[in-house]
């Protein structure tokens, strides 16, 4: 599934024009992205939490050459699916 198909779903269910639907899907993703960039978590109840985590600098290895390298400290986004989303995914198979 792509952005276009999500926009189509918004168009079908909400009654916005196709153009508006595409725009609003883009806006939603933009806002989430910007909030995470500011270092703030995004908690979407019933779906999941996007969290920004700070990683410390650590020693790592290039798996190809075996060279030891320093992996610098960085910030990463992690996602924790809500119970509801987990159930939805398991659903069909049980």
């Amino acid at each position: 599934m792509t952005k276009a198909e999500i926009a189509q779903s918004v168009h079908d269910h909400v009654g916005l024009s196709k153009k508006e639907s595409g725009q609003i899907v883009e806006s939603v993703l933009d806002i989430i992205r910007q909030t995470l960039t500011n270092g703030e978590d995004v908690k979407l109840s019933g779906f999941g939490h996007f969290m920004v985590r700070a990683k410390h600098e650590r020693r790592g290895r290039n798996p190809k050459t075996g060279d030891e390298i320093t992996i610098s400290s960085r910030r990463v986004v992690t996602f924790r699916a809500s119970h509801l989303l987990k159930q939805k995914v398991i659903g069909g198979d049980e």
Partner: protein, 94 residues
Amino acid sequence: MTKSELVDAIVSLEGQITRREAEVVVNNILTAIGDALGRGERVELRGFGSFYTKERDARVGRNPKTGASVSVPAKIVPQFKPGKELRDRVDSAS
């Protein structure tokens, strides 16, 4: 940021949409992604990231309180991998 704060942010960004409409849009987007994952489909959102499902094998776990072993059945879990743009933006802002 919570879901209702996300809805507020959309309303102030889009102007001619009502709060109720924005709320329906956000829920529709999240439902569409969840439904696709429920069908085992991958959801790829350019510039944002991908949602997909992963199979977990059955395993023998332990009740951490009693130490009794329990069998954990195989299951399917939702996953999110941030896209390059999201990764770079969140990291460079640190």
